[in-house]
């Protein structure tokens, strides 16, 4: 029998009590967050548990929320339990001035480049990563382009009003 989102939630709360929070189910996918210090504990628990078995890392990326002071960067993990075919989404938030998050390369080889990509675009410093350098951008680059402070269009242009074109 497939495990339900509610059950996963209960198991997580049992194990980590109030450290796991923000449970949501947008479009059916269980989403939750935990402090960045215990990201490995949570992922290890999800991986090793004989019932949960989240042993496939589908995706790893980050999102920048410049307005959330102290938790500007969200690192988002998409995990998949292939045996029961359940997906979950797990987030950790970090301060942008000290974006240190433990690497998951020890658990998933797939995380290697995905973390490099996340570092490349958001500057998340994955502590313990074996080869944390830029992967898609040039090595000389000294900024992290997917952060929101880098707008796409030339800001000196006055003929294009942001309110009319794209995000204001």
């Amino acid at each position: 029998m497939a495990i339900t989102n509610e059950h996963i939630k209960q198991r997580l709360i049992e194990k980590f009590s109030d450290q796991v929070s923000g449970f949501e189910e947008p479009y059916g996918m269980l989403t939750f967050e935990a402090p960045k210090e215990i990201n490995l504990k949570v992922l290890n628990y999800l991986y090793d548990d004989e019932e949960l078995k989240f042993r496939f890392m589908t995706d790893l990326t980050a999102v920048h929320y410049p307005n959330q002071t102290g938790r500007e960067l969200a690192v988002v993990y998409h995990l998949h339990n292939l045996a029961d075919n359940v997906r979950i989404r797990f987030k950790v938030f970090t301060d942008i001035s000290q974006p240190d998050v433990y690497t998951t390369t020890g658990l998933f080889s797939a995380a290697n480049w995905m973390e490099r990509e996340t570092y490349d675009f958001f500057g998340v410093n994955f502590v313990g990563h074996p080869n944390l350098k830029r992967v898609l951008n040039v090595e000389e680059m000294d900024y992290f382009p997917l952060r929101k402070e880098f707008p796409l269009e030339d800001q000196t242009r006055i003929d294009k009003d942001d309110e009319m074109f794209g995000r204001g």
Binding site: P26, Y27, M29, T31, R55, F56, M57, T58, D59, T61, V63, H64, V76, H78, L82, N85, R87, R89, F108, S109, A110, N112, W113, M114, E117, F121, R134, V135, L136, N137, V138, P145, L146, F150, L152, E153, F165, G166, R167
Partner: protein, 407 residues
């Protein structure tokens, strides 16, 4: 073992390794990416991949584009099967917007997606042949990939970067010519595929070149995040079409071919079998579409006037249609805030779209889960200790598409 004990004659060169740059533009890489190989003779000691030569910052670009303008970006991911990417993106939007598509639209999409899968696998498998020294198969099947491209052309007007479909369906119904071309394809293609298969499947030279090279175990493949044919070749029957059916895939009968060893030969076999399965799905979809009669046979899009562009004839003659056309194109229609992950089975595996919308007209964040990018990191493990000529075949049998790799 014995090298240390051999006394080299005075003045002879010490044993060293050679560094070889394979790529960025080498005919055998079939795309722009570099491999720095460290070689001991012809054996590979280590490799280092450099990617990003055609990085176009799609994720950043997408943050300034309304939903429809992102379809063109998805074309350029895996350009061997762009319709799958297009449909994947539209499915993501539909999930976010809550648009429900009619059955006929689903079947039309399945038909196109499976044609795209055939063309994708056809390229990959014939390129594996080319890298093993068999050019004939490649040239022969290109003629039949053309049949698929002609079908695309009839449906959407484009061939390679198709930009096909709309949120909720297609821009127009399939014409009779399109159906005739699909019939022609179904009639002619099995014979060609069989012949292509015969050229390789039990060909002594090909089997010797591919069997046992570039192998990966199921455990390692899963750990590396492999999906698609490459994972199935290692023996894991994971297929998004079956595990998380989208676009009414649950209405179709098909098998998931799996391999055992995960080597180049198994990858070739799995792709080959998948083409047969896809062919059967195309046929089933075609039959199902033929069953719609009368008004039902005219359905080619969902009833979603806020997101589906009105027909051009109305745009030119009716005020409301013109207004809606502009509203949709400029992204003025309401888009709910939300967080969506939608995956489709692309040519190379699970192609995922992670879309966050904050209620604005453009995505707040869009991330593509690109199967190519994820499994290419295993290349070093796959090729360590193998001959350089095997590494070339491994590269092509993984089906690395630079567009998808770099995004």
């Amino acid at each position: 073992m014995s090298e240390h004990h051999i006394k080299l004659p005075e003045g002879s060169i010490e044993k060293t390794t050679t560094t070889l740059n394979l790529g960025p533009t080498h005919p055998a890489t079939h795309g722009v990416f570099q491999n720095i190989l460290e070689l001991d003779g012809e054996r590979i000691v280590s490799t280092e991949q450099t990617v990003g030569y055609i990085h176009r910052a799609f994720e950043k670009l997408a943050e300034r584009r309304p939903l429809y303008q992102i379809t063109t970006l998805t074309d350029r991911l895996n350009y061997c099967s762009s319709p799958i990417n297009n449909m994947g993106w539209h499915l993501t939007c539909e999930k976010l917007l809550g648009v429900k598509t009619p059955k006929r639209v689903d079947y039309l999409r399945v038909l196109v997606m499976e044609l795209a899968r055939i063309s994708d696998h056809l390229i990959c498998n014939s390129i594996v042949g080319v890298d093993a020294g068999a050019y004939t198969g490649f040239l022969y099947v290109m003629q039949y990939r053309e049949l698929i491209y002609e079908i695309y052309e009839e449906i959407c007007g484009a061939r390679l970067t198709t930009n096909m479909g709309r949120i909720g369906g297609f821009e127009r119904n399939f014409s009779n010519t399109a159906f005739e071309k699909i019939e022609k394809f179904l009639r002619e293609y099995p014979k060609v595929l069989k012949e292509f298969e015969n050229l390789f499947e039990r060909n002594r030279i090909f089997v010797d070149r591919t069997q046992g090279t570039g192998a990966i175990s199921a455990d390692r493949a899963l750990n590396y995040g492999f999906t698609g044919p490459n994972l199935r070749a290692a023996g894991v029957d994971y297929d998004v079409r079956v595990h998380t059916p989208y676009s009414s895939y649950e209405d179709f009968q098909f098998n998931i071919p799996v391999g055992t060893t995960g080597d180049n030969y198994d990858r070739w076999l799995v792709r080959n079998q998948e083409m047969w399965q896809s062919l059967s799905i195309v046929e089933q979809a075609y039959q199902k579409i033929q069953e719609f009669k009368g008004a039902e046979a005219e359905v080619y899009h969902a009833d979603a006037p806020e997101y589906y562009l009105p027909p051009k004839s109305d745009v030119y003659t009716k005020m409301e249609a013109l207004i809606y056309h502009f509203k949709i194109v400029m992204g003025e229609t309401e888009i709910p805030a939300g967080e969506v992950y939608q995956a489709v089975e692309g040519g190379n595996g699970e192609l995922g779209f992670y879309l966050i919308n904050d209620g604005g007209r453009t995505p707040y964040r869009l991330h593509f889960r690109r199967p190519c990018f994820i499994y290419y990191q295993a290349y070093e493990e796959l090729t360590k200790g193998s001959m350089i000529s095997d590494a070339i075949i491994t590269m092509s049998s993984l089906n690395l598409i630079a567009g998808e790799l770099d995004a």
